[in-house]
Structure formats: C-alpha cells, structure tokens
C-alpha cells in the first residue's frame, strides 16, 4: 500500500503530463522542443487523436500553421465539450516536441493553455460553450445526460 501512495506522491512532484497510448517517443523528437503561441484556425475532432491547428507567427513575421496532437474527442464529448467549444481565433499557448520529421509542423500538446496559463477546458468553471454543464439551470443537450450508476 505504501508503494501506491509513494508513486502517487512521485507523480505529484514530477507534474509530468499524462502519457498517450501510442509511441510518442517514435513520433516526436526529444531534441526539438517547441513553444507555440497563436490563434486556433481549426480543430479536427477525430479519433484516435484530435488535432488542434494554430497559426504561429515566426520572428520574421511569416505565418505558419502548426498541428498539435491531443487525445480522444469521445471523452470530451461526454463532458459536454463539443466542436463549438474551441472556436477559431482563440489564442493558445502550447509546449511540446516537434514530429521527428521536421518538415512536418506537428507537435504533441504536452501542455495546452490559454495565454494566462489556465489549462484548456479546465481553467474556468465552464468552457464557455453552451451546455457544457457549467450552468445547472441550463437544460442538458440531448445525449448529455450525465454520469449515472457509478458506485
């Protein structure tokens, strides 16, 4: 039992983001860390992994579109986060590592935050999206019936 508690404490100290289920080490280059900042241009809400597209302005003023890998959209949908929850134009700050193929402007979303440091979807009482569950007086969206039967 002590081992379990210690491992939880270890995670707390490390604060390492949660890992993905596929070979992140094969996909992304540990020698190419990136910090990306810019407005969302679109989000591909697809499985197995959603991809957030953002427009990053380089030091020379040129604009490039980066794709950032996230997790499964199904989980977010169950929490009331929909394709409307992250609108184009929303500015994000993302740290991660670039794909091993450097010709691809793709990275893992190791940390995805709003410009003030709040984690995406988690930084406020709601996502700002309609029917995200933040407003208890709001009628739930069809299909968003809440988690039931849990022990």
């Amino acid at each position: 039992m002590k081992k379990i508690v210690l491992s939880v404490a270890g995670l707390l100290l490390a604060g390492v983001p949660v890992f993905g289920h596929h070979a992140f080490g094969g996909e992304f280059d540990p020698n190419k860390p990136v910090l990306l900042k810019g407005p969302v241009t679109k989000v591909e809400w697809v499985n197995p992994h959603a991809w957030i597209h953002i427009e990053v302005t380089d030091e020379d003023g040129s604009k490039k579109e980066w794709m950032v890998e996230g997790g499964t959209p199904n989980t977010l949908l169950r929490r009331g986060i929909t394709r409307e929850s992250l609108k184009p134009g929303t500015v994000l700050v993302i740290d991660g590592y670039q794909a091993r193929d450097h010709s691809l402007l793709r990275a893992n979303g190791r940390n995805v935050t709003y410009p003030d440091g709040r984690k995406l979807f988690l930084g406020s009482s709601g996502t700002g999206a309609p029917t995200d569950g933040a407003d208890p007086t709001e009628a739930p969206k069809p299909g968003q019936r809440g988690r039931g039967g849990q022990q």
């Binding site: 039992m1 379990i4 508690v5 939880v8 404490a9 707390l12 390492v16 983001p17 949660v18 890992f19 993905g20 289920h21 596929h22 070979a23 992140f24 080490g25 094969g26 280059d29 540990p30 020698n31 860390p33 910090l35 697809v46 499985n47 197995p48 992994h49 959603a50 991809w51 890998e69 996230g70 997790g71 499964t72 199904n74 989980t75 169950r78 740290d95 991660g96 590592y97 794909a99 091993r100 193929d101 893992n108 979303g109 190791r110 940390n111 995805v112 935050t113 410009p115 440091g117 709040r118 984690k119 995406l120 988690l122 299909g143 019936r145 988690r147 039931g148 039967g149 849990q150 022990q151």
Partner: protein, 363 residues
C-alpha cells in the same frame, strides 16, 4: 349452530389448505421475483451501457488483502483526485519550451511527454464487489498476482518483443524510441496504434479497464445472441448462445465466444484465438470463461478465468463490477484521423538516416 356436514368440512379444510399453499407459493414467488429485469425467454436482461473505468488495478501487492478498508479506499481515492487537480492547475503563462533531450517522461509518453490530463477519463473510485472496495481485480491466486509464466512462455515472450502487441523496449540511446525492428513494418506496430483493437485488453476477452479513457461497453442481447460492444477501439464481440465452438482451424482476433445460462448467470466460453493478440504473452490456445451476473443498481458482476497451460503455471481468476451508466457510447472511427501511425513510421525512417550519417561521420 348448525352442524357442518363432514364432506363440507373436508371441502373447507381442503380449500383452506389450498389457500395456504397458494399464499405460500405467492409469497415464495414474491421472494424469488427479484428486481432483475428479464427478457421474454425468462433469462436476465443484461442489456445496457457500462463504464468500467476503475482505480482497482489488475494485481495487488503480493499477499496484501483483497478488500480495502473504507479508510484506505477513501485515502487512495483522495490522493488520485488531488493528483488530477494538480495536473489541472494553471501553469506559468510565460513558460519556455520543454528541455532539449526530452522531459524525462517514461512509458508510452517516451521522453517527450503526453498531453493534458483533460483528455483522460481513467476512473476515480475503486471497484465495489459485495459492498466492499477491492484492492485488485485478481481474486485467484489468493496472493493477488498473475501466476508466473512457464519457462517456455518466457522464451516465447522474449522472442516476440517488437511483434504487434503492446510490447515495448526503449532504445538506450534514445529513451522512448523502441528497439531495432519495431518500426520496420506497419504490421509490427501495436494493435491499438493500428486501430485494430484497444490497448490493454479493452475488448478482451477478458475485458479489462484500460485505466485511460473510453472504458464504455454496451451489451445487446437476444435469445440466440449476445453482443458486447467496446468503445475502444470499436470492437463488437458476438456471443453465440448454446452453440458449439467453431472448428479449430478458424481463428479470430477476440476468439470464438459461445454462451450458456447457468441459473441467472451468463457464462461465455472463448477459444480459437489467433496468435495476433497474445493476451499477456499467451498462445492461441488461450481459454477464457467469463461470467456475467446482474447485481444491484443495474450493475453487472463480471468474473473471468484465464487458462493457457502453455503460458501460465496455473489458471487465474479476476472479478470486478461493471457499473451501469447513462452515458452514451460514441463511434470511435480510429482510422479516419490516424496521423500518428504515419508520423511514427516517417519518424523512424528519418531516425535511420540520421543514425547512418552518424556512423559514416556525417556524410
């Protein structure tokens, strides 16, 4: 008072006795009439959606108790909630890019980290069986550990590293990057990465929580067929009721499942596995027996026994509750946006070029 003729008295007595018997039967029926919903054929209706996400691990520390005290469970669940809150905290807005050489993450995160915890839905509570929180899914062997692999199985597993399961061995020169050969062919990549089956025996059998996300399962049932649909990665297992197993030449990803009723318990027997899934290093002779029983609150008790004499020194058994949920299962169209597999293989080709250049002095 008029005397009642004997035959009438007998009739009364018989009627009274009959009434007593009838009442007794009704009472018995009342007791036997459980809240279990039933189909027209009289068997329990197991249909519904279940969210099997749980904190209860498959194994527990050797020899520790199967049951957690309420205090222990509360403490552990609180620790997990604390960790989740910690991961969800705001972080420095003006942060820099992560360190060159990797951030030290291990496992599938492969030294580059994963992604924000808001994507994860790994469960927040320990599984409750018979009203008590469980420290492990495994109930037999009694020490809570999966039995040892046979010597032959150990050799086989060592040979099969880098075959398409979830086996992974990181390269020493690039932690997180798997050993040589692991990226030589798409078919060497793990089944989850290829969108063929969920990772961690999500589809089963045996059906296990993946401790990550999308742990929903749906059961659809008729008198002849039971379907177990797994959200991750969209697998539908068809159980043929009261049927014979297919000939041994027919091999299936999730094996061949046939079912029968033992009282109010659905017993599913699965054989005829292909050698592509290899649950925890097993052979295609893997034999799984699952038992589904309705318990309180619309939940199911799920019990399974795993047997493969070519792999383990003895059979082993686990059980945990499948809590009913009102949540919806969503389509998991995994192939439609699977950029990751292409990125992974492309990355490996470039890594090869890079390594070759290093060997030849950069030319």
């Amino acid at each position: 008072m008029e005397a009642i003729p004997m035959h009438r008295r007998l009739i009364f007595a018989a009627a009274a006795a009959l009434a007593t018997v009838t009442i007794s039967l009704a009472s018995l029926a009342g007791q036997a009439k459980s809240p279990i919903p039933r189909l027209k054929d009289g068997h329990p209706d197991l249909q519904g959606t279940y969210d099997i996400a749980t904190l209860t691990p498959i194994e527990r520390q050797a020899g520790s108790p199967l049951v957690l005290t309420d205090e222990e469970a509360k403490k552990l669940e609180h620790d997990v909630a604390t960790r989740k809150n910690y991961q969800a905290r705001p972080i420095e807005a003006d942060r820099k890019a992560p360190p060159v050489g990797g951030d030290g993450s291990q496992g599938a995160a492969g030294n580059v980290g994963g992604y924000n915890s808001f994507w994860i839905d790994s469960g927040s509570q320990y599984s409750v069986v018979d009203g008590r929180k469980r420290a492990s899914i495994l109930i037999d062997p009694p020490d809570g550990r999966v039995p040892q692999l046979t010597p032959q199985a150990r050799q086989r597993v060592a040979r099969n590293v880098n075959r398409p399961t979830s086996d992974q061995t990181a390269r020493e020169d690039d932690p997180g990057f798997e050993g040589n050969g692991a990226y030589d062919d798409p078919e060497r990549r793990p089944l989850g990465e290829r969108c063929l089956m969920g990772f961690g025996s999500t589809s089963g059998p045996p059906v296990l929580p993946n401790y990550f996300y999308n742990n929903l399962h749906q059961i659809v049932q008729t008198a002849d067929t039971v379907m177990i649909l797994t959200e991750m990665v969209h697998d539908a297992r068809i159980v043929r009721m009261n049927a014979e197993h297919l000939p041994p030449t027919v091999r299936k990803w999730m094996g061949d499942s046939v079912g029968r009723w033992e009282g109010d318990t659905l017993v599913v027997d699965t054989t005829n596995f292909s050698d592509k899934t290899r649950f925890r290093g097993s052979t295609q002779n893997l034999h799984i027996v699952e038992r589904f029983t309705r318990v309180d609150g619309g939940n199911l008790l799920y019990r399974f026994t795993v047997e493969d004499p070519d792999t383990w020194t003895r059979a082993w058994t686990g059980e945990y509750t499948w809590p009913a949920t009102d949540e919806l299962l969503y389509e998991y169209a995994c192939h439609e946006g699977n950029y990751a597999l292409g990125n992974i293989l492309r990355g490996a080709r470039l890594k090869e070029v890079e390594d070759a250049k290093k060997k030849t002095g950069g030319n």
